[in-house]
């Protein structure tokens, strides 16, 4: 397929179709309405089904059902709606069901605003709902990457029988960029012999997260947590910019703000100042080892985010005091400009920042 100019939200929808997803359940919320709208138009063309649910509570429990029946399915929302989906996400982890959920983040707390934000970082990477669990979190910084990660998300969800969250900020959802859907080699995945889809020729399957015997419930917690260990070994992803230079300062940023940092780095480089960028793509599991390697070559680290420093806290703990960690953030839907990042970088390099 040739390159096509697409909005991030539309590319996410098309990527799900390309991944074999034929079911979408969702509820409208800005800035991601183009995902349900794209799916409402596109799914019938490929024999799929689109359902506009009465709420995000219902939409997320519908994907719980469709996934329990063994089918690939998608839901998407933005921050306030994702809060309502936490119930079903926790149940899906507890019942060991695959699912792909897209959060195109907007500003909060409360109703917040409809402009881009990364304020749900902590909710995404620490679990989000009740109970002791994690979801795999993938964070794109371009429309092409959003499409690629959505396709990967379906495979990862099926492989690990765990929900995967694609976490984009509003800018990723709304901007237009060229996208290409290249044919992919088929991936070998375990059969869904656990699905509740009729017990012909076998014993009934039960999809459940209730374990009243504490010893058993504890074992289930351990079994689920064991997969996070595997993720940390096998599923971390990251990228970078200007990392082969001799930099004193390392920026750490994800999503659209990483693009801003890249521009700032190129401008600085033009004036003879070398700064590196480390961009985690998997926010959970976080590429800790790669971060430490990149940070080991810097005298300072600056985390740039569209929130109050949620990833900064993680970076700080991952680096264990080896390098001073600084923070610059914008909130409420404000985007950090390259000039602001340059100013912060220069201040740190000149020893003027705390």
């Amino acid at each position: 397929m040739a390159k096509k100019l697409m909005k991030g939200c539309e590319a996410i929808g098309e990527a799900a179709i390309q991944a074999g997803c034929r079911l979408f359940f969702g509820y409208p919320i800005t800035p991601q309405n183009e995902i349900p709208e794209y799916m409402a138009a596109r799914l019938p063309q490929v024999g799929g089904t689109f359902v506009q649910a009465e709420s995000e509570l219902a939409a997320s429990n519908m994907i719980y059902g469709a996934s329990a029946a063994g089918c690939r399915c998608l839901t998407s929302s933005s921050s306030p709606g994702i809060s309502l989906m936490q119930e079903a996400i926790s149940y899906m982890v507890g019942s060991e069901l695959p699912a792909v959920i897209v959060n195109i983040m907007r500003a909060g707390p409360g109703l917040g605003g409809i402009l881009p934000s990364q304020a749900d970082y902590r909710q995404a990477v620490k679990g989000g709902g009740h109970g002791d669990y994690r979801v795999l979190v993938l964070c794109p910084s371009s429309v092409q990457e959003a499409a690629d990660l959505v396709i990967d998300a379906f495979d990862l969800a099926d492989r690990y029988r765990n929900p995967v969250l694609v976490l984009g900020d509003g800018l990723i959802g709304q901007m237009m960029e060229p996208v290409e859907f290249k044919p992919r080699p088929p991936v070998a995945l375990p059969p869904k012999d656990w699905a509740a889809n009729g017990c012909k020729g076998r014993k009934p399957n039960i999809i459940n997260s209730l374990y009243l015997v504490p010893e058993v419930c504890e074992q289930v917690n351990h079994r689920i947590a064991a997969r996070y260990q595997v993720w940390e070994e096998k599923e971390t992803r990251h990228s970078g910019h200007n990392l082969d230079s001799k930099y004193d300062l390392l920026l750490v940023a994800n999503g659209s703000v990483a693009r801003v940092c890249q521009t700032a780095i190129d401008d600085l480089k033009a004036s003879g100042v070398e700064v590196g960028l480390f961009r985690p793509i998997s926010l959970y599991p976080f590429p800790i080892k790669a971060l430490r390697e990149a940070a080991a070559r810097a005298k300072n680290v600056l985390v740039v985010e569209l929130n109050m420093g949620q990833m900064r806290d993680d970076v700080d703990s991952f680096l264990q005091g080896r390098v001073p960690v600084h923070f610059y953030g914008r909130q409420g839907g404000m985007m950090a400009a390259p000039e602001e990042v340059i100013e912060q970088a220069r201040a740190i390099l000149a020893g003027r920042s705390n």
């Binding site: 009465e54 429990n61 079903a88 039960i206």
Partner: protein, 245 residues
């Protein structure tokens, strides 16, 4: 020797946790018998609620999914839309269906999902120990209305069959009781019809069962049966509320 009574294949060979005199067991049996008689056990998926029937996933001998509190019909929608060839039913109490899951209930009926809802109205929250339900009768004592339900502050009990029958979307909606052998026999015919409507792809179906909770009503099973007859049936009249024709 001729077999005159046997456990339906659609019920698992286990004993249930239901209290003596509780009609949950009868309702399970009716569903099991009909799944057998319609020959659909092997293509049926049941959705268990949160409530006294939470362990129903162990009692039905077909594929089962445990739902979160109130969301059984959203889960059922997901299953049915993914696999329209399957026979899908939910089994829900009044707290589950008429309180926390009210939004899901109205919308699943309004979308006309081709599923069957087994709704067990026992006028109380059984599992959590006898709190007031949206169906608790005026003056009825529960642990969160120790002086009896006051309609001035708690509102009147919700008549779900009537409420859902008011929707424009075609549906099969009936209220039955299972406190006497005659009522059980009649209810079985209703369960059959409800599943037949689903299997024919005709409409959404819901059966409201008036059910006893001797434990939380603080009665013997016999007293509970009499109380249901004297108090519940007058407020919740039995009968067909909506048919697709």
């Amino acid at each position: 020797m001729q077999t005159v009574f046997a456990r339906p294949e659609s019920l698992a060979t286990v004993s249930t946790h239901y209290c003596p005199g509780c009609t949950h067991g009868i309702i399970h049996r009716l569903v099991g018998e009909i799944l057998d008689e319609l020959g659909v056990r092997e293509r049926t998926v049941g959705i268990a609620p949160v409530g006294c029937a939470v362990l129903a996933y162990n009692y039905f001998n077909c594929d089962m999914i445990e739902s979160s509190h109130g969301r059984a019909t959203a889960v059922a929608t997901g299953v049915k839309r993914a696999r329209p060839d399957l026979c899908v039913f939910t089994y829900q109490g009044d707290g589950d269906l008429a309180s926390i899951g009210m939004g899901e209930t109205i919308h699943v009926a309004n979308r006309g999902e081709k599923i069957t809802v087994i709704f067990v109205n026992n006028a109380i929250y059984g599992m959590t120990g006898g709190q007031m339900a949206p169906t608790t009768l005026p003056g009825q004592v529960a642990t969160t209305c120790p002086l009896g339900r006051e309609v001035e502050t708690a509102g009147w009990p919700i008549r779900m069959a009537e409420l859902l029958a008011s929707l424009r979307t075609p549906a099969y909606i009936t209220r039955v009781a299972v406190h006497t052998p005659l009522h059980v026999a009649k209810a079985k015919q209703v369960v059959r019809k409800a599943f037949q409507h689903q299997l024919a792809g005709r409409c959404f179906s819901l059966i409201e069962f008036l059910s006893t909770c001797p434990t939380n009503w603080g009665m013997t099973p016999l007293e509970a049966t009499r109380w249901l007859e004297a108090n519940m049936i007058p407020y919740y009249p039995l009968g067909e509320y909506k048919t697709p024709e």
